[in-house]
């Protein structure tokens, strides 16, 4: 590098490294590292991390020599960030692969159409767990959505002064409640009236509501904030009273976003295990009445199958993995539907 100042010296180095250079660097480093590690003791983690680190260094030196200092740094940072991203993806991919490969064995028609009633060993299914999850989550949603949306409307459209600050603070606190605490609250509440042995589907719904309401409030508030004030002003200028402005102008405009927020809240709570363990209990048959008796659900089912397998343990473990896989699939579908709604029905607000 010459010491000249001016445009001439800031031009890039003599050439460019080839397009395939980053891949070559990764591959080359991996091969070399693998060779070294085979000699001293192979370790996949070391290979991955080492490749990430050393290929970054390699591409930096290569690019710097050929293209110039700034380009070299740019390529090195790009490589570094990409490697970190890849490393972060490893546990996620590993998890999905594990659950899918272990759970797929039991994905069959029997699994979705039978419960565990009378099943000692083989066979059985999650019909009771799925209906349980559906009922419990639906009840929780039915309670949380109106309360959450109305609270958000109050906080954003009407609230002012001390009361608003206090409420906002408590909503923030509620977002951080550990799920087991929500479960204990529901358990204690019902134990007052029914004694400590009580287990009901609706108790689980209460616990999940406590977790869901603050999420709905927060996301609805965000969506209300996005609605431009100009729309409210236009409505007021027409002589529309405030409550009608909120119900006929503001809420419809924010509705797609609110629905997306609700679906994401459902996806969050559908897999909560701790509160349901102590409130709904487990049960081997289908129970469609949330107000009477234990009601099994997917997360609790998976937990119990894994924790207390019979002899031999294999069918139980398989069922546990399959139930976990079904749960992941349900959450994925909810996310996809939420994105679809948001894209299709979201109004473009200027």
């Amino acid at each position: 590098m010459t010491a000249e100042r001016g445009i001439a010296s800031s031009a890039a180095g003599s050439g460019r490294i080839p397009r395939w250079a980053p891949w070559a660097a990764i591959l080359g480093t991996a091969v070399v590292l693998a060779a070294i590690l085979t000699l001293i003791g192979f370790n996949i983690a070391l290979l991955l991390v080492g490749t990430a680190v050393f290929s970054t260094v390699a591409i930096y030196l290569w690019a710097r020599a050929v293209e110039g200092h700034r380009q070299g740094l740019d390529r090195a940072i790009t490589m570094g960030i990409s490697s970190l991203f890849a490393l972060a993806m490893v546990p996620l991919i590993s998890l999905l692969w594990t659950v899918a490969s272990k759970g797929i064995d039991r994905i069959d028609v029997e699994f979705f159409t039978t419960s565990m009633r009378g099943v000692i060993n083989d066979g059985g299914g999650i019909l009771h767990a799925m209906t349980g999850t559906l009922i419990i989550t639906s009840l929780a949603t039915l309670a949380s959505v109106p309360i959450g949306i109305m609270a958000a409307v109050y906080l954003h459209e009407y609230g002012k002064g001390k009361l608003k600050k206090i409420l906002t603070f408590f909503v923030d606190v509620m977002t951080g409640i550990p799920s087991i605490v929500a479960g204990l609250f529901a358990f204690a509440l019902f134990a007052i009236f029914f004694g400590p042995g009580i287990r009901m589907g609706v108790m689980g719904s209460v616990a999940l509501s406590v977790l869901m309401i603050p999420i709905v409030v927060r996301s609805t508030e965000e969506m209300l904030r996005v609605v431009p004030d100009g729309l409210r002003e236009a409505s007021f200028a027409l002589g529309v009273p405030k409550w009608r402005t909120v119900t006929k102008v503001v809420l419809p405009t924010a509705m797609a976003g609110i629905v997306t927020g609700v679906m994401l809240a459902v996806a969050r709570i559908i897999g909560e295990t701790a509160p349901l363990l102590i409130t709904t209990g487990a049960f081997s048959s289908v129970n469609l009445n949330p107000f009477s008796g234990r009601m099994d659900n997917l997360p609790v089912f998976a937990y119990n199958q894994y924790r207390n397998p019979g002899v031999p343990p294999e069918p139980f473990i398989e069922r546990a993995w399959a139930a976990a896989l079904v749960l992941i699939l349900i959450v994925m579908v909810l996310f996809l539907v939420a994105r679809f709604i948001s894209r299709r029905y979201g109004t473009e607000l200027r």
Partner: protein, 273 residues
């Protein structure tokens, strides 16, 4: 002391009103924004309010339909009467006042979830006016024709209001405001977000509308005031942080050629502002 008559077809009497402002002081909390304004706004005429930024024109305009008090802590002292009716009387419901005074804003704001038809009829629909579909059709067509938008949208009345160009959206907002046949139409810099062609269309429209309504328009653009208005009021502010004041109100011709106050002369000839 005529109160507006409401009937099922048109909620207002459709008669242009005269506005008398006496000693109006407008406050934001304890800050005096507009000081001691007294003026008369003539019916069936276009009154333009001009002046440099921040001298209270928009604040004054908003106090005429009680939109100003939507800001927390905002209040007025003094009186504003429309054909003798005090709109700030303690018994007067601001919502009722706003139904009789229409407002068009600087940035077009059609309701994005509603169709063009629903947008135009919003003043009626949102206030739950029950009427036959055919009656509402008539009102919507009349308002859109009046805003010179009918020909362009008559085939797509059920398409969303946000799918139009800027000029068309502003005309839609004007149609929305005129559909309820308000007695006064307030316009806060209606053309500042539009291109010259759209601006010309709207100015022509204002000229037609004044035959039916009283129009007050705030504008930054002196040439627009000179073109489009019958009366012009000049607002000014002494120093930043002082309240805005009405310096002079007179026929447009006079303001622009031979104003009484030196400040006015300085402003219209471009020496400041």
């Amino acid at each position: 002391m005529t109160a507006p008559v409401s009937n099922p077809v048109s909620p207002n009497s459709g008669v242009a009103r005269r506005i008398d402002v006496k000693n109006l002081n407008i406050y934001y909390g304890s800050f005096l924004a507009v000081k001691d304004v007294s003026m008369t706004i003539q019916p069936n005429k276009v009154t333009a309010l001009i002046g440099s930024s921040g001298c209270g024109k928009s604040t004054f305009l908003r106090s005429l339909n009680r939109m100003h008090e939507l800001v927390a802590g905002a209040r007025v002292e003094g009186s504003v009467t429309i054909d003798g009716v005090d709109i700030y009387a303690p018994t007067m419901d601001p919502v009722v006042v706003r139904r009789q005074i229409g407002m068009v804003f600087q940035n077009p704001n059609p309701f994005p979830t509603m169709s063009i038809y629903d947008n135009t009829a919003a003043g009626l629909k949102l206030n739950s006016k029950r009427m036959k579909r055919s009656q509402m059709d008539t009102i919507v067509e009349k308002a859109l024709r009046g805003a010179h938008l009918w020909e362009e949208v008559k085939d797509r009345l059920d398409k969303p209001g946000s799918g139009l160009s800027g000029g068309q959206q502003q005309r839609l907002c004007i149609a929305r405001a005129t559909a309820v046949e308000p007695e006064v139409l307030l316009m806060d810099e209606p053309c500042s977000a539009l291109d010259p062609i759209a601006t010309l269309a709207i100015e022509d429209l204002i000229d037609e509308l004044k035959q039916k309504f009283t129009i007050v328009i705030v504008t930054h653009n002196m040439q627009q005031a000179a073109r489009a208005s019958d009366m012009t009021g000049f607002f000014n502010i002494e120093h930043s942080g002082d309240p805005g004041q009405l310096i002079e109100l007179d026929e447009t011709e006079k303001i622009f050629s031979n104003p009484v106050h030196q400040e006015t002369e300085d402003y219209v000839s471009g020496r400041f502002g």
